[in-house]
Symmetry: C2
Subunit: 362 residues, 2 copies
């Protein structure tokens, strides 16, 4: 059997091999209960336990306070872009956005589309989003319903080096590409949400962590599925949730817990990213366009500067078992997404390949 | 290893064992491509092929005409209850509903909640939904945007024995619990949708089959994710879809195709259901409350008439490897969901158990 590749995809992306093997071993007959998890009623005692454990373990590894609800919702980030305003922008309907990349912009555009009073309070778009703006309380409208940020920007390889102080105004952060990669003080946020398909599990679930006093205020005529309170009141099982992705998410939470938790992941992530950035910066061949203090630990963006050579890089890397190193279709270049599940050996292999490629193509 | 049970769950429910085994075998390294399907970028060539094949095979086995779009959308039936009105009730905002059970009622209530002019044109609620009303063109408001029916009623064990003639007014059918169980003339419907978690695959995807002239008319301010046209224009990958459930759906479509298609499934389903209904009707102990011509091939509902004995039945059946035979929490009694993937041997085993239980508890 051909070996598994190092998969640098921005998402869906690598999962811990031990988790995949365990899922495969249990796929036909989950812990000898007679059923596959794929076949399990979401109302069964077995699945309720899987769901409860997933939530409990996530609360544990993220240190989520009791006054925050943890929800598992379908529809990905795109649906969250609509759900957050519908649930949280219910007073002034004013939302302040920090534009740091495509996903931040999509969140902003969705609010505009839906008729909210959306304001861009800071943006690095003029510099192709290569840095993170610093915002202070003074930048925020005093009657804004919330401030939205994208904490880690998958496409541009940036990451907020600080948590904005928004005072009494709730801060909402899209952490799709960095959740569980570093310790986060949840209490600094009104809400955190993340699609699981980058750093956690197969696609089809967004984890929503929301302070309970912020929900339950949505208009009566919105679609039932879009009301966080409905999900909260029904422990994420108002209707059939994405049972399989919740199950694998739970397995990953357990795996992280057993392997030093988020702190250990962060240490490893810092080490992996530093290695790669150090090599790039010193290579004299590759270049990372991102301002140093705003660089992401998860998505390492770099360029050679010649589109044809970059194409060659991506193709030869794939042939060498280093998959999905092309940059996002909107900016080109290269991107190595090195989420929690990317082994350090994968980063080493990438650097070796980069050295060889640089030598051959200088 | 303990044997696999016969799982009579209403959904999620059994999958073909051959498909589960194949998915398990390929879980770590999908056809030696170096990645698990769970880790595959939805923009990769490999996944695009999986998605295209799933659609093509579904079109083939259901004989779906080219002027119908096939979409794979997250959020289940609950989100469809909102999406259908948002996309199709865009002229008069009038929707006519036939109430044949909980899910039909939920669709109706969602339309009411969202401010549509929803009308119940027929209902069997007064008889606990034990039969299917016959509707004709005269029952329908001439300016209704569409008529909504639930073709098979999971909870009450009924099934439309006919396709209502709605003339020029589009007929929308929720086929969550009977899709692919019988041959259907798609052209009789404006739209068919089905959550895949009953008769197809793990939960988290609704398949939407919609006549292309009916979409693209939604209001500009609705959430992007709720617009069918967005999904159609982007081949169900506007954002990251539920890749794993789409993959397993595709494997099941292939499996059906290789095993005689929907016609062969239907033949087997008729045989299984007939066996079970015949036994119930002749047992003198169990009773099926559903009018004979409206009985579902998928969900066989029956009662003993004594709640304690029924509880005992469900518990003893579980111990005997016959899982999830309890009726829906809203009506009690028993329900055997015998979808495509339930082997005939499972029905035989159930009947044997029922005989033994009747003898012991008469």
């Amino acid at each position: 059997m051909k070996e598994r590749a190092y998969n640098f995809s921005a998402g869906p992306s690598m999962l811990p091999e031990a988790v995949i093997k365990d899922v495969a071993d249990n796929l036909l007959n989950y812990h000898e209960c007679g059923e596959s998890v794929m076949e399990m009623s979401h109302r069964s005692a077995e699945f309720k336990q899987i769901l409860a454990d997933a939530e409990a373990n996530l609360r544990d590894i993220m240190n989520i306070p009791d006054n925050y609800k943890v929800l598992f919702i379908q529809g990905g980030g795109t649906l969250q872009f609509a759900m957050v305003p519908l649930n949280l922008a219910v007073n002034s309907r004013k939302i302040d956005f920090v534009l740091t990349g495509n996903w931040a912009k999509k969140a902003y555009k969705e609010a505009v589309k839906m008729g909210y009073d959306a304001k861009v309070i800071a943006s690095s778009e003029d510099d192709t989003f290569t840095w993170i703006p610093e915002i202070t309380k003074d930048d925020i409208r005093p009657d804004a319903d919330y401030v939205h940020i994208c904490f880690n920007n998958t496409i541009y390889g940036t990451h907020f080096p600080y948590i904005p102080d928004t005072g009494d105004i709730p801060l909402v952060a899209d952490m799709s590409s960095c959740i569980l990669s570093e310790e986060i003080d949840v209490t600094k946020f009104g809400m955190i949400w993340a699609g699981v398909q980058k750093n956690v599990a197969p696609s089809g679930v967004a984890v929503v962590i929301v302070r309970e006093d912020l929900i339950g205020k949505a208009a009566a005529d919105i679609p039932t599925y879009l009301d966080y309170q409905i999900h909260a009141d029904n422990d994420s099982a108002y209707n059939t949730p994405n049972t399989f992705s919740i199950y694998v998410s739970g397995e990953v939470f357990k795996y992280l817990k057993a392997n030093g938790g988020v702190a250990a992941m962060h240490e490893k992530n810092v080490r992996k990213a530093k290695k790669l950035y150090d090599y790039i910066d010193g290579s004299g061949y590759y270049k990372c366009p991102v301002r140093e203090k705003d660089r992401s630990l998860m998505n390492v963006v770099f360029v050679i500067g010649d589109k044809d050579v970059e194409k060659k890089f991506v193709a030869e890397a794939k042939a060498a078992g280093l998959h999905n190193l092309g940059g996002h279709r909107s900016i080109g270049g290269m991107r190595a997404s090195i989420y929690n599940a990317m082994p350090e050996a994968g980063v080493d292999a990438l650097i070796e390949f980069m050295k060889k490629f640089a030598d051959e193509n200088k």
